[in-house]
């Protein structure tokens, strides 16, 4: 997932704190080693390499992950789609000798051949690849929750790169955890504040802060039209489930207004905000 992991546990002694954080980090690393397409030995890399040659057998965890991917794809009407990598690379100027027509005809979760009986996956063409980038952090935080229970921790704040946060219990000096979303252009301003109470927050955006990348098109692809989202905007979702927050922030970011509303109706007990940046660099916040 290539991001920093910060864990804040209040009222715990150092030795116990180290033990807990070590277990949490170990679990997150384990997940990363399975899901990251940047790791050559991960299951995802294995699938991307071999599933276009033959149906690859999935173990329990990978089957469960891809089942959830499938379910979120359906519940978001195709907006959550982990097969957009080839389009993304093409839009960034790395076409790999392929034409966009060929790519368009090859990608899409609906092209993936998941056999739920035999628990295998087959990718019918070589362009089709899985990328769990918009899923991994939420899944990791979700998997960490049983560990938190195991150690009977009530008040804990975990951040993965500040874009995915799990906030349980209370801040030592207040109720819940107060967080705010920075203005993406003027970081001194908070565009929206939230009180997290046993909830997760996830933000997705298409605004590059890395100066080397600022001229690139957004890396979020709208699967309906296979085009990047060009508006400068971020979506923040608050949900009980970190995975749901993560998936929805990605899916809502790439959808148009009509589809956002449609998706939104499929999910209860969540808060979702769209933050759009205007030409004058002001931010417009709207609840989805």
């Amino acid at each position: 997932m290539g991001t920093s992991c910060d864990i804040i546990i209040s009222e715990i002694d150092t030795a116990e704190g180290e033990k807990v954080s070590e277990e949490i980090v170990t679990e997150i690393r384990r997940i990363e080693s399975r899901l990251s397409r940047f790791t050559g030995t991960s299951e995802i890399s294995f699938i991307n390499t071999f599933a276009s040659k033959y149906p690859v057998q999935l173990d329990d965890e990978m089957f469960s992950i891809l089942e959830q991917v499938n379910s979120y794809n359906k519940r978001t009407f195709g907006s959550f789609d982990i097969t957009m990598r080839a389009v993304n690379e093409f839009r960034k100027g790395d076409p790999g000798n392929k034409k966009i027509e060929e790519i368009s005809a090859s990608v899409g979760w609906d092209k993936v051949d998941m056999n739920f009986k035999t628990r295998t996956i087959f990718l019918p063409n070589k362009i089709l690849e899985l990328d769990l980038g918009g899923f991994g952090k939420g899944y990791a935080l979700e998997q960490v929750m049983p560990l938190i229970k195991k150690f009977s921790l009530e008040n804990i704040f975990i951040s993965l790169g500040e874009s995915s946060v799990l906030a349980l219990g209370n801040h030592p000096h207040g109720t819940g955890w107060k967080v705010g979303i920075r203005h993406s252009i003027n970081p001194a301003i908070l565009v929206k504040e939230f009180l997290l109470n046993n909830q997760s927050l996830s933000s997705s955006g298409n605004i590059y802060f890395n100066p080397q990348e600022k001229n690139l098109p957004g890396n979020s692809i709208n699967p309906d039209i296979l085009e990047p989202v060009n508006e400068k905007q971020t979506v923040t979702v608050i949900a009980d489930s970190p995975l749901e927050a993560e998936v929805l922030s990605t899916a809502l970011l790439v959808s148009d207004t009509e589809k956002r509303n449609k998706i939104r109706r499929n999910f209860n007990n969540i808060l979702a905000y769209l933050i759009s940046y205007n030409i004058d660099q002001s931010a417009t916040i709207s609840e989805i």
Partner: protein, 425 residues
Amino acid sequence: MKELDHSSRREFLKALGIYTGTSLFAASLPWFKVFGSENLKDSVTAGHKVSIGMIGVGSRGRLLLLYLKNNPGVDIVAVCDNYPPNLEKALELTESKAQGFEDYRRMLELKNLDAVVIATPLHEHAHITIDALDAGKHTFCEKAMARTTDDCLNMYNKQKATGKILQIGHQRMFNIKYIQGIERIKNGEIGPVTQIRAYWHRNNNWRRKVPRPELERKINWRLYKEYSCGLMTELAAHQIQVANWILGEYPESVSGAGSINYWNDGREVHDNVALVYTYPSGTQLIYDSLTSNKHYGFEEQILGSKGTYELEIGKMYVEDIPPPPGILQLINNIENSIFETIPLGGASWVPETAVKDKGTYIIDEKLKDDGTDIQMEAFVNSVREGKPIPELLDEGYNASIASLLGYHAIEDRAVVYWPEHLRIV
């Protein structure tokens, strides 16, 4: 050979400004006392020029000549080499203003000579240095000091006896990147230094073209034990000096191994060496050098409990990457009993970008000078003042002795301890 850019003085003065008036002069850089900014200015404007003779003007000697020629406070009055092609090239560089010598002893007879710069093969350093000091000439001698430990000690004692300046060429001591990095290390930025690793890897045969077979040993002197200790005296001495400087001590023992496992071409010195130096504080310097692979290049890695320095590349790495600003604020709030909103995301947030410590540069700009230019200027300054630069000779001596003890550890396949008679106070 093209003219050298002398703007390193500007770079150096800029950096020097940081230290002026701080205790650093006394603490970690005693040799910098000679660089009171007034002195440095003097060397440029002074009416009296320092007259210098160059002894040994092969490639290194000619480079030093060019640096000195660029210094308006210097007159190069003589050049000496017993290999005619080198002598001719050097005389050309002085536009034939300098007098040429094949025998350094004739050159030392010159009355108008303040100082000499020696860049001959290693085995000739000692007797030429001793003759020069005896002749009343201040002396700059390239590293390593000498081919044997006894020669090093004789040179050291001769300096003490004559009171003349003897400076050994360790340019890293005048390299701003090293000066700043080592100051920060000494200030505890990476915690206690617990290990130093240094290496110098090349992939070439280390040979120079020989016009006639009978000149092989003269030109490729580095490859023969009679004249050189190979990688130990030619490369390792520099990096051992850096380790000594950082630790503020010199090794008490060394063990090592070496062999010729690639360039089996008649050379006598090893083409690869690996050693462990142990310092009185218990810190080890792990050193290796080879000439059959250049992938890792050369580096000095300074390992502390809180971070790492790589001085050649000029970078510092922390052990624990600081948390992002929002998380840092949350921690500070908790510690100060404050319950308020912490910022997430925003301009400091780079989505999906790996958080790896890529290191921070010690200095922002790429330096033109590796310290050699300023080192020569320091020598000229101290000649003008007639006073040796404090502790500079000790640094050169200890680095040379350590490199030679390493050579003996390899040759004798034994743990070699720093002998009592080679200790200087």
